[in-house]
Symmetry: C2
Subunit: 497 residues, 2 copies
């Protein structure tokens, strides 16, 4: 077997084990009986270790070295060698013993966080979080960086992005959004939503989600919809991209939005072509680009006026009490803005401010500008400054998210970038599909999907996010499209002028 | 690490991969979207190969050799070395290239069988079946045997059993059952069951199954009940033993029986203690012993008069139309005997004759006494002789079962042995639990389960089936308990005297 064939076979081996791992993880959250968890953890641990060994094996190192200088590779093969090679070098520098030590500490830290959150007692979590910050800094040293150790961590989620660039992107976002939200709350007219009150059976909500996903052209022959406490999307293999959602008994829109969000993620993975499978390129370009797809379908489509022109009669058929509500009233009701304490409950206007706060705190933690013990106070100050609300306890403040507890620093910005990219992409799509609103109002979402497939999905991980954004939109990633989208939309919804 | 620790670690590695494999297989039959099948086959192929390599690795061979002569092993460790060692030698003699060639031919053969069954055209299947018989003979030669090549094949399913012994066990069964069934049909009074007619929603049938499984003390925290076309039980890991069932819209008893059958299998695996996990002993003693557990719960319990004394009011609550039927009438209705063409639809009286026929044909095929082309005719003759019915086409005759198409010869006897063992075990349980019928009539099934746990489940695969049967019942495996059970029960149900 020549080097290229051996290299591809090696990646296929990793791909197959990762497929088994994805299923083990999906099943753990959907079907696994209570007493099955301890053994499942061992099985997952075993397969994770096997995948890791294969990802940093000397054999792979040799293949990569040979192929990096080899002529005659296709564009896909070159991209594969580049992406896999980058990950190889990144993971190879971590001593296995250090990684194992970290993994054990992270598991303990997550357990401590759960208890601390339940009791709203930051002190219980503090020593663990300090340890996680230490580990993150050590990881950054192993990985290496030019300017800030935080950059070495972002790289895992948003290749090529730096904290300096993030700050440039964020600045106008903050300076526009903070006063705009203040104005919305003080001068705007909150849409009415009394007609949304009620109790909505799960089966009814599931039907509603299925109708929305069908309209989005989610392929049910290559996926399925289940229910979990925390919704997620997982790609188990080619043509097996599963989503989960959750239904709140008294809020029929929440489950719908969650399904459309996960459906957006799933459309991305369903759109990655077969010739990228098990090549190291069969995933999204980055966490941020992935989030752009979920947020586009959830918000730019799912919370748009044209969508509700199309979807209101369907919603009325499924949910009898909505059959007497106008499309316009439904559109307004799904776009109520309310500065709140908890990120996962935030609307699209205030959401990014929750992220900014986390980004600022976590990068200051990693660079050492602040200490873990400063966090609760700094959190409250920032909430007051950005959103005008202050948590009464840490459970609804600094303890609300799981990410830091397992050492995930540099992850949060992807959520914000996803929002910004989604608006930037949507503006580009609108330039090319001139009657996009009319199409959506007619329930035709296929041309938008085809555009996403053509411009984003088909490339998988071949391009870094910045490169991809520039190719498609002709601009560097920026916040101006998002700001314009938010200001225009909510000026109208809240009758600001 | 000493040899014993290294050996155990090696088995744990196999156990973890097998756990992942079990989940991949379970999911394939319960949840996998249509388009996900091709990739799933590749993932399953990969993990199967890994497990096989580990099972015949030279390293394992060295461990086994050292441990076979080592003092100071516990009884469990000695049993593990014996059982794993036996499988090691058995699999090691098969050349990997031969096995792969067989696996490909078997997959093709199964596909051909599907088509042949659909068209009821034996000729389409014939060349494949001839090939499968050839492979089976070659496997037998590789494995080795004393008297008959068929013995080498039975060993896979029923360790220690031979065709000579099977014939001894079967002889009285045939000579008693064939005339008894004739008498039943000619002189007996068929119970009435008009009250069973109707349409029964899935949710109702599921509730009924859940109530029966709860009464059996199936642990839902260590398992779950799903729906598939062909019901099965799978053990994914310690404390994760899942069952599936199927509901026929017009037959409420069929799904209940199927659930109790699979529940019986599951109780066995849930009862295997933790210290046997991933030791090579964490499964049933044999296919026949496993089947004895499913058939005991399905038939000796689930189709008994005391069970229906207990369960009739519950069935009446769940299925309104049954609330007016007496326990006695329900008991009789679940015990209707009807010689029929298809094994999987057979009642407990005629079932074994379906198996005998298959056993006689398959062992004659393997020893070369008959040819594949003789099969359809021989099948019809035997059906006529044993059950007095003759299939009009091969789809309802020789083509009905999947087993032979993938080369599974020696498997069918387990079904019959399961029935015989179940009666033999139940008679022993009844001797020790003197008020067993009263307990069952009172819905107390826990003491029977405790007896099974104590005598069978706790040992996993530590004993060979014959040894286990003798330890528990004081007799060699035989058909007399089963014959007595059948004759006594149906003489009463059919009012023969």
């Amino acid at each position: 077997m020549d080097t290229l064939a051996a290299y591809k076979e090696h990646l296929r081996e990793i791909g197959k084990l990762e497929s088994a791992l994805s299923l083990l993880n999906w099943d753990q959250r959907t079907n696994l009986p209570r007493k099955g968890h301890p053994a499942r953890a061992e099985v997952i641990g075993k397969l994770t270790k096997m995948v890791f060994s294969l990802s940093v094996s000397d054999k792979l190192g040799e293949y990569l070295e040979k192929l990096q200088g080899q002529d005659g590779l296709t564009e896909v093969e070159r991209a594969s060698v580049r992406v896999v090679g980058k990950a190889y070098l990144r993971h190879k520098v971590i001593p296995p013993a250090f990684y194992e030590e970290y993994a054990i500490a992270a598991a303990r830290s997550e357990t401590a966080w759960e208890e601390a959150k339940e009791k709203s007692d930051f002190e219980l979590f503090k020593p663990h979080l300090e340890r996680m910050v230490d580990y993150a800094r050590k990881f950054a040293e192993y990985y290496g960086y030019d300017e800030s150790p935080y950059d070495a961590l972002i790289e895992e989620f948003e290749p090529g992005m730096t904290s300096a660039e993030l700050k440039t992107i964020i600045e106008p976002l903050r300076s526009e959004l903070v006063p705009f939200i203040k104005r919305l709350m003080e001068e705007g007219k909150r849409p009415k939503d009394g007609f949304m009150q009620g109790t909505f059976p799960e089966e009814m909500q599931r039907t509603l989600s299925l109708k929305a996903l069908s309209a989005m052209n989610y392929d049910f022959d290559a996926g399925r919809l289940d229910q979990t406490v925390h919704p997620f999307t997982t790609t188990i293999g080619p043509s097996d991209v599963r989503i989960t959602t959750r239904y709140l008994p008294h809020n029929v829109l929440s489950g719908l939005a969650s399904s459309m969000h996960e459906g957006g993620h799933a459309l991305y993975d369903q759109g990655i072509p077969d010739d990228l499978r098990w090549s190291g390129l069969d995933e999204g370009a980055s966490f941020g680009i992935h989030e752009s797809q979920s947020r586009m379908w959830e918000n730019l489509v799912g919370r748009s006026r044209p969508f509700w022109t199309f979807f209101a009669p369907i919603a009325g058929e499924v949910v009898p009490q909505l059959s007497v509500v106008s499309a316009e009233d439904l559109y307004r009701a799904v776009n109520i803005v309310k500065p709140s304490l908890v990120r996962v409950e935030a609307d699209e206007v205030t959401y990014n401010l929750h992220i900014m706060l986390r980004f600022e705190l976590e990068q200051a933690l990693i660079t050492g500008e602040i200490n873990v013990s400063d966090l609760p106070g700094l959190w409250r100050d920032a909430m007051k400054r950005y959103l005008g609300v202050v948590p009464e306890d840490d459970a609804h403040g600094v303890l609300q998210d799981v990410h830091w507890s397992s050492g995930l620093f540099g992850y949060f910005p992807s959520y914000m970038l996803g929002n910004l990219y989604s608006a930037q992409f949507f503006a580009a799509a609108r330039r090319e599909i001139t009657d996009l609103d009319e199409q959506i109002a007619g329930g035709k979402l296929s041309e938008l999907l085809a555009w996403l497939r053509e411009n984003i999905h088909q490339y998988g991980k071949m391009y870094e996010p910045k490169e991809l954004v520039e190719r498609i939109t002709g601009e560097a990633p920026n916040s101006s499209h998002f700001v314009r989208y938010i200001v225009d939309k909510y000026t109208d919804v809240y009758g600001l002028r």
